[in-house]
Symmetry: C2
């Protein structure tokens, strides 16, 4: 076509903005939509709108929820003395899949990143301290990622939290289970050595 | 989360149905939508709905269009004696990008594939013959893909078209321009030899 017809070009442009969707993928998806039954396209459009309209942040922990308070904060069977601090809601999903944690969470919605202009006020740090005052928390586990920003954010939070008399811990870093020494990168390997435990 | 919240799980399921979108990509996209501004999500949902509602097949050549007849069929500057037969609307887009063709098109919307139960009646073949009767076509170029189904469809159409006294041609197959002999597959190389031209 001399130029792409408007509604198709528009769909292509919108798809193109999604992460990991390059121009070829966006084109393929746009043409695929043309081949989909109209009801299926309507379901997809509706799912997008509904998810965005119905989901917001839990007013306690800032996890995603379609209620006022999320399922985890609402679950009376969980340990209410521990908060695990994570960067994003999807980190909670990963933690829950491991079945290794039964406490509460707090989502920062980002990490400290001065170069991107993200300071403590852009994260849900104030809200974390408000929770420490109103809830009976005894331990805060820092589970930010183990990259530069994640580490810096964990260090920053630890310095603020320790004077408040709360146990502060950091999730362990070392060799992945099933991982082989031979293929481990140097930084992971030296962290695994540093963090060795007497058995 | 013990289970994913409903609107998010629903979005994930709808995204999962798109071609080339596995479970990890669908999950990443679903969480990305949660981070997108509401207006952008609305634009994407609207683009999907609009594209599906406003685009349909050109009543002459079965290309995609938002009008009754597509831009190409409507373009009086084009050669109206030649029809290039392609499998899908996106093949027209590829041909047009090459700027090598100035005639009309006809989209089959598929290829003959007995194993998938796709016979001549499932393609726009009858409509092609109707055009040959009502328009003054002198040549039909068969530009189906060069895989088994594409070749079989081209052969089938050629057998039907030749008795009608129309010039029938097949697009050339050979070495891609810029391609090196050393790296060409055997079939392409033998086709390139077969189709050699005296210079």
């Amino acid at each position: 076509m001399a130029r792409m017809i408007r509604p198709l070009a528009n769909l292509y442009e919108q798809l193109r903005r999604l992460p990991g969707v390059g121009s070829k993928t966006a084109m393929r998806l746009a043409y695929h939509v043309m081949d989909m039954p109209a009801e299926e396209v309507a379901l997809l459009a509706q799912a997008l709108t509904n998810a965005k309209q119905q989901i917001h942040y839990c007013k306690q922990c800032f996890n995603l929820t379609d209620a006022e308070v999320c399922e985890i904060c609402n679950d009376t069977d969980r340990d209410r003395f521990t908060i695990c601090v994570v960067e994003q809601p999807q980190d909670i999903a990963a933690m829950e899949r491991s079945h290794g944690y039964r406490g509460l969470y707090h989502v920062l919605h980002g990490v400290l990143s001065p170069l991107d202009g993200i300071g403590p006020d852009n994260l849900r740090i104030r809200e974390l301290f408000q929770r420490l005052q109103s809830e009976s928390i005894t331990e805060v586990i820092l589970a930010t990622n183990s990259n530069v920003e994640g580490e810096a954010t964990a260090t920053y939070l630890a310095q603020l939290l320790k004077p408040a008399g709360i146990t502060v811990s950091r999730i362990a870093h070392g060799l992945p289970v099933g991982g082989e020494l031979e293929y481990a990168d140097e930084v992971t390997l030296s962290r695994a050595l540093e963090n060795r435990r007497i058995i």
